[in-house]
Amino acid sequence: MSDHNIDWVDRLKPAAPDGATTITTERSRSNLDVDSLAQHLLGTDFLERQDRILAQIKLDPLFSKDRQANLGRPERYMLGLARSKRMRQMADRYNWSEEDYETAKYLVDDISPYQLHQTMFRQTLLEQTSPEQKKYWMDLHESWTIVGAYAQTELGHGSNVSGIELIARWDPKTKEFILHSPTLTASKWWNGSLGRTATHSIVAAQLLLPDVVDGKGETVYKSYGPHMFVTRVRDPETHKPLPGIVIGDIGPKYGYASMDNAYMLFNNFRIPHNAMLSRYSRVDPETGKYYKPENKAVLYGSMTHARKRITMAARLALARAVTVAVRYCSIRRQFHDKEARSPGGYETAVLDYPTVQIRLLPLLATSYALHYTGERMGQIYEATRSNVDGGDLSSLIDLHSLSSGLKSLVSELAANGIETCRRSMGGHGYGGGSGLVQLNADYLAKPTVEGDNWMITQQMARYLIKKVTLISCSTTNFVPSNRTESVLHEYYMTKSTDPKPLDIFSDDGNIVKAFERRAAYLSFEAHHAHHVQKRSWKSLLIQMHQLSHAQSEMILVHNFFDSLTADTTLPPATRNILWLNFRLFALCTTGKSTRDFARASAVLETQLDAIPDTIVNIMQEMRPHAVRLVDAWSIPDYLLDSALGRSDGRVYEDLFNRAHRLNPLNTLTFNPDYRTDELVKGSNDGGAILSKL
């Protein structure tokens, strides 16, 4: 870089008022108690831990995020691996607890090549192994003698697990299973941590057992559906794939650059009898007989576990984007308001435009809505977990349906919300300094992984329709066993009496009731279409998707309401601001589906028409508290990695610093003349970079 200019450049300041001044003014305009709210949301433990781990992370230059966006894919993976190794080493050095370790990963914010070793590989071993298997594998897992992955999805099959093509054929002579990929589409695909990292993998394959011998003396095999196996896939010394296995990384993606998602093929690869995970179902090695699981629900276990955290993670991902956008839009000024000159003759802060508020403030409210449901889901998950351990699997089915619907809605709200935040910041939102580029790209995997968002809403819809069937066929003394049943039952009992639409403006409790009524109405309607009108399931898929979202929205609204009603810890002024968030979230959600609320006779027509104006009024009330509301999420600058979202407001100084100090491109001088192939000035490279092709 040419240094003779630095002097006069370094003396330049942003035009007044600078960001630091503006954001201080913003904070002084609100009486929201940030500390109490932060503790209410995250807890003292979380906040203390975040500070402590952050200090440790920041000591190591390996965790600097300054230049990572410039790296190519191979380097980006290597950086991810190096960081993962270092964090695992630090866990020992600092004696980290599991939460400490999680916090470190959250702050470093790389999708780790060790991720599947630490999640699905581990979880599957815990849940699906026999006692002997568990002891053997968990020792190897915990000592990191092996590094594991989880290979379920294939090139040809994702959502439809029962359609996978990899086979595991039992050989009674040698008492082994033979893993074999009969087609190209049978190749495992997308499996995280497996492309370059793992030594072992859980492998899902169709279990084939010898059935009969046909006329030509060939054995005919019978399929018992997908089962889980565990096997070594790479050599412990050379780390190359074992003979008979081909593995590699599937290439660059929209995000997840630091993760090695894999392809994997088997060519008659033999694994021993005990490679099949056999807590629930097994093959007798002597007789070759198959013992099936008592309850199909067990297979949902790991997937539901993966969804457990999705709402809690979604709220922080969204909160991060909202933090950046709210802070930046309170500092960014553009155009003078001709009708209301702002003090000092400055241009209007972008956040004062209703067209910006309508994009950001509902998302701010959404981050809070997700919080309370995420918290509730955690409790339900723990309760279900202990039921399952005690042998009761029925509540797992409830949880699975509930988590499917929520996963779909919540990941969609967060993914779309992050992108809305990015766009609300205009041109600078597109720049690397926004801090939302990697977040957006990484998070966008969510709507299609762990169950495609459109496919899995069928599970919620099917569940609700079953409940409607149950209730409509029941006798008068039906006793609801959970909240979903009681909402549907109540609706069933009153629907013939033509209930009056509710007044949702003067009573927050009525908002919850309106959401319940609309979800129940749609459930009965879907039930009617499928069971009475006999319309095919396929023709109703769009309606089922809408039903699932309506039910999930109801859950978000009632958890938000219940939690605020029950709260006794927050200062009243702060709690009142949260009530504004509740109303904004609920009314914006209502406003998107007014037709449904009208048809369900859930809300007064006049109020449905007045929703847009009411929303504008609530936003005006919320506006002064916006910066403090995002401050309460306590997301450190290191995690935000954003010039635009810095807590001190020094937006322009940081943007400039990143461009002129941290940008490796500026160390090269180019030769722009098209008549010569030289690219870097004076290098006489003659376009040498092209010879690498």
Partner: protein
């Protein structure tokens, strides 16, 4: 690159039916005449041009695309400069026209560091320079002896051009301008081709004469040495760093520390400083600039159709090849169902298929209006006519077409680019997990397209201009001074019939659909006017209403243009009756799907009844999906986007989706060259190479 896979892997085929067979079936079940439809969309000439360019470019190694997604930023930019140079060499060798160079660039598929030189720099010099300045700058720029860019936006100001902070102060003593950046926020920012490539810039700066500010004006400033390519003294310039997309472009920053340029460097075709008197001479014809912007926006509308078509082509072909789950109602031995047969996939893709046609025809319609207007303007500029062009504030009879066009281009630009940008992401998600792979060809295309939503006027900001225009038109109509354009007519129709009510038969009559969209726009216009004039509400408090109003108006224009195109004699002459019928179905799908999504406004304006909305949702749209479904593949084929341009495993014309995904992953993926040490205790990262220290 990794060594090729072993023989047993090479021998594997995807499980049947093969993608190629499925696409053959798809094409066999429809008799849409793809060739005729392509010619209607693109013209024979453009299709042939594309073919010959493709034959020239595709074999050249320098244009290889296989590593685009794996390389780091620095290396990508270097390669992109290599591509730009080679294109320019070819352009010279083959004497390409502007259209040919543009088409070649489209096929390359990425912005290059020459991008802003070839567009805004040349255009600005040409349109805003005097003959003397053409000689001095334009001629050299056209020969690439100087390379330039267009430096308008700053760190602190984008949309609000009047707020720019860079200054150009006139020195009457030595007849020069001093260009200066008084603050950090005055730094030019986002300037394409400036970061590492350009040696000149057209700089927009606040002109000061004798302490008085005359607003932003364009100046030609040299920023780098022509020999060493180092920044000149007191110029600080560089690249702004990695971005969401557009990483093959060197967007730059630029600061000046009191740099002097001569009098001739202010582009002076419209306004200038008299060297002798030191007086400012006002612009003669501001509407010409106004016209360029209108042209640029009309182009964005036209291109939005093609941009979206790329995503829809990929997703439609892939969803026809991809099969997942057996149909619950089908017999147990049926194979898995093509994903494109699922209603929840159709409801996402087929309305987008209709949208890309809608945007294309709307863009065409606007370009035609623009050209008509240009010739009318030329005639009007003959002596004796009022030579001043009109702004959106004025509705004089002679200028109402331009005013109408300008306002509509603002709203349509916003609607079209939002539809295309968001549509691409819907296409990506409709491809499920594989859509997330870079080899899907959608992700990078989407991220490169996204800036279009904010440049040439931020989409939200632009909607204000539409609203302002509609309010003015409504006031004129109320005052009985309506201009003779379409906007005034729909407002007048609404006023005339308001008391009688609407009663449009949107389910049976295509022209009633157009009328219902017009009605809703007129209704929202008079509602907004009531808030503004009768209730005296502030402009700022109405911005959300204005945004809704602009969207409604633009949707009306798309529906109207689409309807006119499918009813036109040209279309009837070009297509067989069956294909023509399908164009009508696409029109209805676009219109009714939009109507259903905006049901609340249609209902509250009285344009349709609740019953009609319910029928639209449950019956009409579903029927249209069934009608269009068998033709979906041929309808995307007709856009004639080459495989090389799509650069997508999922969207290949021949349906060999899985083979291609596997080939790229195993043979074109540099990560597979490396063998790693996975254990946390070993600090070494690589097994087959010493660990590099550059991390």
């Amino acid at each position: 690159m990794p060594s090729p896979p072993p023989d047993w892997v090479k021998a594997l085929k995807p499980s049947g039916p093969q993608g190629s067979e499925l696409l053959q079936q798809e094409r066999a079940q429809s008799n849409v005449n793809v060739e005729k439809l392509s010619e209607l969309l693109h013209t024979k000439e453009a299709l042939e041009r594309q073919k010959s360019l493709l034959a020239l470019l595709e074999p050249e190694k320098v244009f290889d695309k296989s590593q685009n997604h794996s390389l780091g930023r620095v290396e990508r930019l270097q390669r992109s400069l290599g591509k730009a140079k080679r294109l320019q060499q070819l352009a010279e060798q083959h004497k390409w026209s502007f259209e040919e160079l543009h088409a070649a660039n489209e096929l390359i598929g990425e912005p290059t560091p020459y991008g802003l030189h070839a567009s805004m720099f040349l255009v600005t010099l040409r349109e805003q320079g005097t003959p003397e300045q053409h000689k001095l700058f334009l001629e050299r720029a056209e020969k690439y002896e100087i390379i330039g860019c267009y430096a308008q936006t700053e760190l602190g100001h984008g949309s609000n051009v009047r707020g720019l902070e860079t200054t150009a102060t006139w020195n009457s003593s030595d007849k020069t301008f001093t260009i200066n950046s008084p603050t950090l926020t005055a730094s030019k920012w986002w300037i394409g081709s400036l970061g590492r490539t350009a040696n000149h810039a057209v700089v927009m700066a606040q002109l000061y004469i004798d302490g008085k500010n005359y607003g932003p004006h364009p100046f030609v400033v040299q920023v780098r040495d022509l020999e060493t390519h180092q920044p000149l003294e007191n110029v600080y310039v560089g690249d702004i760093g990695p971005k969401f997309g557009y990483n093959t472009m060197d967007n730059g920053f630029l600061l000046f520390n009191n740099v002097k340029v001569p009098h001739v460097n202010m582009l002076a075709r419209f306004s200038r400083i008299d060297k002798e008197t030191n007086h400012y001479v006002k612009p003669a014809m501001p509407s010409l600039v106004f016209g360029t912007l209108t042209w640029v926006r009309s182009n964005i509308v036209l291109q939005a159709g093609g941009v979206l078509a790329r995503g829809v082509t990929i997703a439609t072909r892939y969803c026809a090849v991809r099969r997942q789950f057996q149909d619950r109602d089908a017999d147990a031995h049926a194979g898995e169902n093509q994903v494109l047969n699922y209603k929840m996939v159709q409801i996402r893709l087929l309305p987008l298929l209709a949208s890309m046609y809608a945007l294309h025809f709307t863009g065409r319609g606007m370009m035609r209006l623009y050209e008509q207007n240009q010739s009318r303007m030329k005639a009007a500029n003959s002596p004796g006519q009022d030579s001043r062009g009109a702004g959106p504030e004025e509705l004089r009879a002679g200028a109402n077409l331009l005013a109408d066009l300008h306002a509509t281009s603002c709203g349509l630009k916003a609607l079209a680019s939002t539809t295309a940008g968001e549509g691409l992401e819907i296409c990506r998600r409709a491809c499920g997990g594989h859509g997330y792979s870079s080899y899907s060809g959608i992700g990078a295309w989407y991220s490169d397209y996204l800036p279009t939503l904010t440049w040439e006027g931020d989409n939200y900001m632009l909607t204000q201009q539409v609203a302002r225009y509609l309010l003015k038109s409504a006031r004129a109509v109320l005052a009985g001074k309506a201009a003779g354009n379409d906007t005034s007519q729909i407002l007048q129709t609404y006023l005339d019939r308001r008391d009688k009510g609407a009663s449009f038969d949107v389910l049976e009559e295509d022209k009633d659909i157009v009328a219902a969209f017009a009605w809703r726009t007129a209704h929202l216009t008079f509602e907004a006017l009531k808030h503004r004039d009768a209730e005296q509400r502030s402009w700022n408090s109405l911005l959300v209403d204005f945004w809704r109003l602009s969207t409604a108006h633009s949707q009306y224009l798309v529906v109207k243009n689409f309807y006119e195109a499918v009813s036109s004699p040209q279309l009837s002459a070009a297509l067989d009756p069956e294909t023509k019928g399908l164009m009508h179905s696409l029109f209805r799908l676009y219109a009714l799907h939009t109507l259903e999504r905006e049901a609340a406004e249609f209902f509250s304006s009285g344009a349709v009844t609740v019953r009609q909305i319910t029928l639209t949702r449950t019956t009409a749209v579903m029927k249209l999906l069934d009608e269009i479904r068998p033709h979906a593949v041929r309808l995307v084929d007709a856009w004639a986007i080459s495989d090389w341009q799509l650069d997508s495993s999922l969207g290949r014309y021949d349906g060999k989706v899985y083979e291609d995904l596997f080939r790229r992953a195993s043979e074109e993926n540099p990560v597979n060259d490396l063998v790693f040490d996975p254990y946390p205790w070993n600090s070494a990262l690589l097994k087959n190479e010493p660990a590099k220290s550059k991390l």
